[in-house]
């Protein structure tokens, strides 16, 4: 995986598998100088402390189609090699939050990549899942919320080329205003 955005997509798919109806992605470049903190929280079924510690093991997975589970180990590896940190907070029945921080200037820090594309794929995944993203930098913040989009457009589903193109434009413009390097 070559972009932070792809890791975000991968981790969010864990939330989908955990039965979440709400996924909130926070990309925070404001709180800690020189760091990008990515937090992905959900209201899925959560994990007990034993499972939380085992998901960082590449040989642990809940699925039966294959024996490996690399999503969490890969993002953790990227965070650590770039000089950042990694943590999972989870409570059974409450949900899970995955926190990864990356040192911005590290040569090993992957680029953000196509965040808009990832948000659009997640938004189209299911009518029942609300996807929220907060992008914070020192100059300001921007929020993407599928519920707001659905209510403005009076639609139940985020789909179709026309809407996808318009939303991509909106995301790239707003994220680009906050961090010109992201787009």
């Amino acid at each position: 995986m070559k972009e932070l955005a792809l890791h975000i997509l991968d981790i969010c798919n864990n939330s989908v598998d955990a039965g979440a109806s709400w996924i909130e992605i926070t990309i925070d470049e404001a709180t800690k100088p020189d760091h990008i903190i990515i937090a992905i929280g959900d209201n899925g079924k959560g994990m007990d402390s034993e499972m939380s510690s085992r998901v960082e093991d590449p040989w642990f997975t809940t699925r039966t189609t294959r024996k490996q589970g690399l999503g969490i180990p890969l993002i953790k590896q990227q965070a650590i090699t770039s000089g950042g940190s990694f943590r999972i907070e989870s409570e059974p029945g409450e949900g899970t939050t995955v926190l990864a921080s990356f040192l911005k200037e590290s040569v090993d820090r992957q680029p953000m990549g196509d965040l808009a594309g990832v948000l659009l794929i997640l938004s189209g995944t299911s009518k029942e899942i609300r996807v929220v993203m907060n992008y914070l930098t020192e100059t300001g913040s921007w929020r993407f919320d599928t519920d707001e989009i659905k209510s403005v457009l009076e639609t139940e589903q985020i789909t179709g080329n026309g809407l996808t193109v318009a939303l991509r434009e909106m995301i790239e413009y707003n994220v680009g205003e906050l961090n010109p390097e992201a787009y």
Partner: protein
């Protein structure tokens, strides 16, 4: 056209793409339209499934094919990612492996449009005769 910068801008131009949404909401009868599932677990994402999915959903609409493109988990063919499962109306699903943009184009033009099978089916028990 002005750039879409806010929800208000989105609302303003929404008439132009309402038709696309209405079309998709027909998916309450999913048996009548082409269904494409793109495997998007870690293995798929790392191999470019995101680009494959974006290509398929935009191209199928551009080429006027009623289809619903969704993402699914790992089908266990990690060695052949990106994999997609295509179900034509009334037929059994077919899984294709190593679907990059070129392969996706071939699948749309041959399999989805005409029903002609193309190489790359998983498990590998099919080969076209030249």
């Amino acid at each position: 056209m002005e750039k879409v910068k806010s929800l208000a801008d989105l609302k303003k131009i929404s008439e132009s793409f309402k038709k696309g949404i209405d079309l998709r909401e027909k998916s309450s009868h999913p048996d009548d339209i082409v269904q494409v599932k793109v495997a998007m677990a870690t293995c798929g994402i790392a191999s470019g499934a995101k680009e494959t999915m974006e290509y398929l959903s935009s191209e199928l609409e551009k080429r006027g094919i009623e289809a619903i493109v969704t993402q699914t988990g790992c089908m266990g063919y990690c060695y052949a990612e990106p994999t997609i499962e295509v179900t034509l109306p009334g037929q059994n699903p077919v899984v294709y492996g190593e679907v990059d943009i070129r392969k996706a184009d071939e699948i749309i033009e041959k399999y989805i449009k005409t029903g002609e099978l193309v190489n790359g089916i998983i498990p590998q028990n099919y080969e076209t005769i030249d």
